[in-house]
Symmetry: C2
Subunit: 408 residues, 2 copies
């Protein structure tokens, strides 16, 4: 079960005026479940996106990049059940068919549609079924449909993930609402599996992209479940551009920072939710690395720990077999690391000082911390003042079970 | 259970004249099991070693490096049950105590002893118990003791690992015998967890080290169980230097190549045995990457696949969910990879051609291959003529179970 995470309750996701969401059951892979989501944008909207760095990026990701570069999007169409990745030219053609069908319904151009897919890789996208579902999705378009939309994009997720935050800009309240899905193949590299955050404000596309890049590096790029970077990672930030809404047009101004804080609140919540609901997760783990020369090496060490199957199984067992953490620090690839300066804290328990077991360390105290569902480990490197953090989960029987049975 | 691997039978490991092995039950961690091994070398012997690249290398690894650089070793002492890693200055002092005790018994200097440890990290080495066990180990020193020695160095290994090979040099038969242990925290980087190979020949130390470096790159550096590089990896090659044995003193001559082939046969067998008996393994997997620009990028892609928990759980389930392999290729870090040139074969089944599903691919044929215990996947990159390979195993419930319960 997810760790410290409950689904959003009805009414907790505040609508963003002008942004309407519709859901359909198209039977993409299984019958009788919401598996197609359409998000329609007002003509005033601006959109920014970041996408997977996986070289095998999916057909919809390729189209999103092209479409975003050429014109202002009018709608997004998302399907679960099939990733349309590793499908070559045929996959691109099928994703284009879906875009064309939705564009035809909306009276816009094909490249004004952003397509997204998630599910099994290397299987042919059933474009006909998705297209058949589009009218039903359009029929229930509503601004107040974020909660159902959060459910419609789930695959192996146990709970839907959504969050609303707000900030004050020029005396007005600016609302930010977002949803995401994750669970497995989660090691976002520039983006997460699928994330959509909308803002009730006017933000030029360039500013929006800058904001998105900054937020991504503080949220989705800091979470990992299994170290597998997906072929379909996409994280989209949309501003509705409502005429009466505040305008944020200066990067690094006070308004930008207020907006940044609200978007980051939503994005960090969603990113953490991916780890809390990671496949088979029984623990949510925050790994903080401090006193590094730069942030990159702090992340490098945190990810080595987060990806270690031995650390993850010890967390699952609540076993303070913490030498495994030292081993992961040691092989993280920092060639000139002086291990005699390393410190390690588990919660409020000092475990390692100067590279060896702290003289006052008593394992029963660490064992108490390991029993918790929410665990923070802190590593000090003694070589600088940079710091960073990564969120992850443990590695349980259920991870193996879920991924051994995924397609059955 | 190990995949296609049975323990060596009595008499199958041929002795190397002058090299004697003795075993003791010292109760390092648990009672009534062989946990200390002493290997005594003749005065004529030469020794070479490669050791872990983990920055948190264990105290015995640090001493081995120093001792090997300063003098000719007379004996090796190996304990299981405790890795003496992450133990700082106290760990070094304890390893030195063990060396001093054995040196005293043998009438040699402390730095003529090479110490090795494997087991739990960051716990204090019970040097007194190991020292108490040394007389018993010396009492049963025998040339014909390789089989018991292979058993004495096991930790979570299910079967002992040993192999003998031979070659002809200058009209004489040269015997090569080796043992190794592995199971978990197996992603050797310059060496394996613990491996010892001995040669009945005269080989100058420089030539022996060159041979060892070459062989390591073809054997232990090509295997991974869980991607965790151990703090204690050590791989030792010993030549007995027997007066009547052939002399191999020229690197790259015919004699060197004959010897190389025999040492490689033993080392590749032992390296594969680590994956066949990897923790929880139910499949043995060979990943061949071809048509790369250089061997390094072939290994990089093979290891991305070998470390992917999603690929490993699909292997465990015998599920040909092969898109996961494409995803791993895509995130392996080859920035200019043209995915449209990628090919993938599973056994004799062509799965992917030109980056997409092969038109003639039928999943039932891949499903047949996935059911086998011994699986080869071959990836073609279409960008050069280099090739390399990596051996690994799958990821099962038992991996989680073994590592969740390791210290209990």
């Amino acid at each position: 079960m997810p760790v410290g995470l409950t689904p959003p309750v009805a009414g907790s996701l505040t609508l963003i005026p002008g942004i309407r969401l519709g859901v359909a059951q198209a039977g993409v892979r299984k019958a009788n479940r919401d598996d197609v989501l359409v998000i329609c944008l007002p003509e005033t909207a601006t959109v920014a996106g970041v996408f997977t760095q996986n070289r095998f990026c999916a057909a919809p990701v390729q189209l999103c990049r092209t479409h975003l570069a050429s014109t202002a999007p009018r709608a997004l169409v998302i399907n679960t059940g099939n990733a349309n990745a590793g499908t070559g030219e045929d996959g691109l053609a099928r994703a284009r068919q879906v875009c064309a069908a939705l564009a035809n319904e909306l009276g816009c151009k094909e490249d004004q549609i952003l397509p997204f897919s998630t599910g099994v890789i290397m299987e042919s996208l059933p474009a006909d079924r998705i297209i058949s579902g589009i009218p039903a999705a359009l029929a229930n378009l509503a601004e107040d449909n974020w909660l159902r939309a959060a459910g419609a994009i789930m695959t192996t997720d146990i709970v839907a993930k959504g969050r609303t935050a707000s900030c004050q800009i020029k005396g007005q309240t600016v609302t930010v609402t977002g949803i995401a899905k994750g669970s497995g193949m989660i090691h976002p590299n520039m983006a997460t599996m699928l994330g959509y955050v909308a803002i009730d404000a006017r933000v030029p596309a360039g500013v929006l992209q800058h904001l998105l890049n900054e937020v991504t590096n503080e949220s989705f790029n800091r979470v990992t479940v299994d170290g597998d970077t997906s072929t379909n990672d996409s994280f989209i930030l949309m501003a509705n551009g409502r005429v009466d809404a505040p305008l944020v047009e200066e990067i690094d101004g006070a308004d930008y920072h207020a907006l940044y804080a609200a978007v980051a609140e939503v994005s960090v919540f969603l990113a953490q939710a991916l780890a809390r609901d990671g496949e088979g997760a029984t623990k949510f783990v925050t790994i903080e690395v401090e006193q590094g020369r730069d942030r990159a090496e702090c992340v490098q060490i945190a990810k080595a720990i987060a990806h270690s199957p031995l650390v993850k199984t010890a967390l699952f067992a609540s076993d303070p077999n913490l030498g495994r953490i030292l081993a992961a620090i040691g092989y993280a690839g920092i060639d000139d690391l002086d291990v005699n300066k390393i410190g390690l804290w588990l919660g409020d328990v000092e475990v390692v000082r100067n590279g060896g077991r702290d003289p006052s360390y008593v394992e029963t105290r660490a064992a108490e911390v390991m029993k918790r569902e929410d665990i923070t480990m802190r590593i000090t490197l003694g070589r600088g003042s940079a710091r960073d953090r990564v969120w992850t989960c443990d590695f349980s029987y259920d991870y193996v079970k879920i991924n051994a049975e995924y397609r059955s």
